[in-house]
């Protein structure tokens, strides 16, 4: 494997609290050296011809981003996205690790499918971490084999879009996952309250004549799950082996769900949550004239909920920014709003939106933004050597121009699908290189 010297860049590695000019040497898929500018073993012309030199002067060098919530659609839904196209989009967006949801066809409920998703034949540009189905065929009834899923590479379990409603099953899922050291991710939606609904409940839904999902459908289930975690955590001391369940709340969208997570953490529980860019940027008003690119689940909420997502990010209760990248073919979205599938793409807009809004607009330090997009999500799912740039960690790097403003164009997306509400939005921070395990997997065309 080749050697890469990234020189002259401004390294920000939240995990090791580095924030300054550093040269980075990548060798054999790992970080080999981090040195003061010009002081690496390859500095001052010592690099041989086999070394690729990236001049990162004026650029930010950071750990490759980690998205713990993407839908890569394979197996079975290749018309929306493939693992190859989805990870190409990830690379273009600066991501080097993506955790893939199991709601594929068939669902990823066996070690065979979990391995299939990671096989070299899939042509992935970046590392794919499959998330296993918590129950067979994500039906919420019979648990899958967590030990087998884990040994095949699954990093967590979830039934994602088919939330586990039965208390008894959810309890069993938490117990078994904890035994295997796996996190349980819940898409918190009490589907008994959301039948036939296509947006957030409230005055906007009333005006548009659409049935609305009440916020309690989300926070009600989050509160239920936290009750179960509380019971199983034995007042924070863990079970008899000292293991404590880890509940991760996916795509939090309501103020009360964030409040519940905050309280759970104060009570010493292992409860984490993520927020998607669309939930900290958009509100239900963006449904506009029935724009199916503003339809996702959980839906865009009220301005008060949106503000609570921003507040949660700023004050630290939110552990990660995750995109919920959910590609759908154009023909699937060109239908009546109520009939359109939920979801939008997100891998190529997440960094640009986060830098523009969280950093420049709302003044979250750059290191904190990057941490939410790398170190924290990696730690949350126990992805060792990811989301950090220390000697020995994986050579996963994103190099971007932090000041560059650019306009996101859906048609230029590497994803197979173009369903995004952010088409034409101004972004900040252009990705120039993305390196996955020592390979350059994305390079901006306009480098010059």
């Amino acid at each position: 494997m080749s050697t890469i010297l990234i020189k002259g860049g401004h390294l920000i590695d939240p995990a090791s609290s580095v924030d300054g000019l550093r040269d980075v040497v990548l060798k054999d898929g790992r970080v080999a050296e981090i040195a003061e500018p010009g002081k690496s073993s390859l500095g001052k012309g010592k690099a041989g011809p086999e070394t690729t030199i990236i001049d990162a002067k004026g650029l930010t060098v950071a750990p490759g981003l980690v998205d713990i919530h993407v839908h890569l659609r394979e197996p079975g839904q290749g018309h929306k996205e493939t693992i190859a196209t989805g990870t190409a989009a990830a690379a273009a967006g600066g991501f080097t690790s993506v955790a893939a949801m199991p709601n594929t066809t068939p669902a990823n409920d066996t070690p065979e499918i979990t391995r299939w998703m990671q096989a070299p034949e899939r042509g992935a540009s970046v590392r794919v971490f499959p998330i296993g189905a918590a129950t067979r065929a994500i039906k919420g009834e019979v648990l899958t084999d967590y030990a087998a899923l884990k040994s095949a590479g699954a990093v967590a379990v979830t039934d994602d879009g088919h939330p586990i409603l039965k208390d008894s099953i959810m309890r069993e899922v938490l117990i078994n996952a904890t035994r295997q050291g796996l996190s349980v991710i819940q898409h918190a939606e009490d589907t008994r309250l959301t039948g036939g609904c296509s947006m957030n409940a409230g005055p906007t839904a009333f005006r548009l004549g659409l049935r609305g999902m009440p916020p309690e459908a989300e926070y009600g289930l989050v509160e239920r799950d936290i009750r179960l975690v509380t019971e199983l955590s034995m007042n924070g001391k863990g079970d008899k082996n000292g293991q404590r369940p880890h509940l991760h709340v996916a795509h939090t969208s309501t103020a009360r769900a964030v409040a519940a997570v905050r309280q759970a953490r104060r009570n010493g529980l292992r409860v984490t949550c993520e927020v998607a860019p669309h939930h900290f940027l958009l509100t239900e008003e963006h449904v506009g004239a029935y724009d199916t690119n503003a339809k996702m689940n959980p839906p865009l909420r009220s301005a008060a909920d949106r503000d609570a997502m921003i507040q949660g990010i700023l004050d630290g209760v939110v552990d990660a920014i995750a995109t919920d990248h959910a590609p759908h073919a154009a023909f699937e979205k060109e239908v009546e709003f109520e009939r359109a599938p939920n979801g939008i793409t997100g891998l190529e807009s997440a960094l640009g939106l986060s830098l523009r809004w969280l950093h420049h607009e709302w003044k979250l330090p750059l290191g904190r933004v990057l941490s939410l997009l790398s170190a924290q999500p990696a730690a949350l799912l126990g992805l060792r050597g990811r989301g950090m740039l220390a000697v020995g960690s994986f050579a996963d790097v994103v190099i971007f121009d932090p000041g560059a403003e650019w306009v996101f164009r859906a048609k230029d997306s590497r994803s197979k699908s173009k369903n995004t509400p952010f088409d034409g939005w101004t972004m900040q921070g252009r990705v120039r290189w993305t390196i996955s395990e020592g390979r350059v997997v994305f390079q901006a065309e306009t480098v010059g």
Partner: protein, 311 residues
């Protein structure tokens, strides 16, 4: 025209004036206005009044009309709204009159076909031509002879809309249009059919749970049918509903003896109102139907003669 939101007082005045002009025109003369122009009626839901009056309106102007309904067309075979719309356009349709069970469907059809679309009712959302014919009915009684309206024309008028507000596109189109002309809209009904947040739906709108109080304030009473097809599992005690909200002769005499009684139809006699009220002297229900043709002539004419896309 997709929504009552497009209706400014100036636009409403133009439509009302044109409706009267067309209504009074010699039928043979009128039939030359859109002679042989093609208009498609695309109906995904059953309809008597709206479909017939749009069809008579278009034919009265001389246009060729064709009706495509969800039964007995390729829609049954799974053709999408986009493809059905593009097919009608390829067949020469210059405008499409759409009724559809999904809120917002006319916006999709307009985006995909770039044709003028007349919204003949979309899900629980809107039914703007109904709001216009309701307005013409109201004006005929309260402001006879008026076709020029302003933001004050209906100042001091309270319209009580009672019944299944939640599922009603008529309620939503009226709640936008009537306050723009100065009227106050009072929604009345039980919580299941009228959420509290309806009061936040726009200016000039309030909620009154007590039917008799609502009647007492109203010069115009619009009764709505309970839309069984949209209840989505909601269980209603109909006897209780009638006790609270049925419009009877006794209630009318006691609380609104001079009010105009309207209903967009279809009426269910013995449920939201009694047969005696429907047939009684205060009822303008059939008059509403009658106004439908003139209003829809004006809308169809504008759709095909407007400059640019969309009427």
């Amino acid at each position: 025209m997709l929504s009552s939101r497009e209706l400014t007082p100036e636009r409403v005045s133009e439509i009302l004036t044109l409706a009267t002009e067309l209504e009074n025109e010699d039928p043979l003369e009128r039939a030359t206005r859109l002679a042989k122009r093609r208009i498609a009626l695309l109906f995904y839901e059953s309809s008597t009044r709206t479909r017939t009056s749009f069809e008579l309106a278009a034919k009265g102007l001389g246009a060729d009309t064709t009706l495509v309904s969800s039964l007995s067309s390729s829609i049954e075979k799974g053709e999408t709204l986009k493809d059905t719309g593009l097919t009608l356009k390829a067949l020469g349709a210059e405008a499409i009159i759409l009724r559809h069970p999904s809120s917002g469907a006319p916006w999709l059809l307009e985006r995909e076909t770039r044709l003028p679309i007349l919204n003949a009712g979309d899900g629980m959302h809107e039914h703007p031509s109904q709001a216009l014919l309701d307005l013409r009915t109201v004006l005929n009684h309260l402001r006879p002879g008026e076709t020029h309206v302003t933001a004050e024309t209906l100042a001091g008028v309270t319209v009580a809309i009672t019944g299944d507000i939640l599922h009603s596109r008529v309620a939503r189109s009226n709640m936008i249009l009537l306050p723009r002309l100065g009227a106050r809209v009072v929604f009345c009904g039980p919580k299941e059919l009228l959420p509290d947040l309806a009061a936040q739906a726009g200016p000039g709108i309030s909620v009154e749970r007590n039917f008799e109080r609502a009647l007492g304030e109203a010069q115009v009473v619009i009764m709505l049918r309970i839309q069984a097809e949209r209840l989505a599992g909601l269980q209603l005690d109909l006897e209780e509903y009638k006790t609270g909200y049925q419009l009877t002769e006794a209630r009318l005499a006691a609380f609104a003896p001079r009010a105009l009684v309207m209903h967009p139809g279809p009426i269910i006699r013995g449920l939201e109102l009694t047969g005696e009220v429907a047939d009684g002297p205060q009822s303008a229900i059939l008059e509403q139907v009658h106004h439908g043709v003139a209003i829809r002539m004006a809308l169809v004419y504008r759709a095909l003669t407007a400059v640019g896309v969309g009427a």
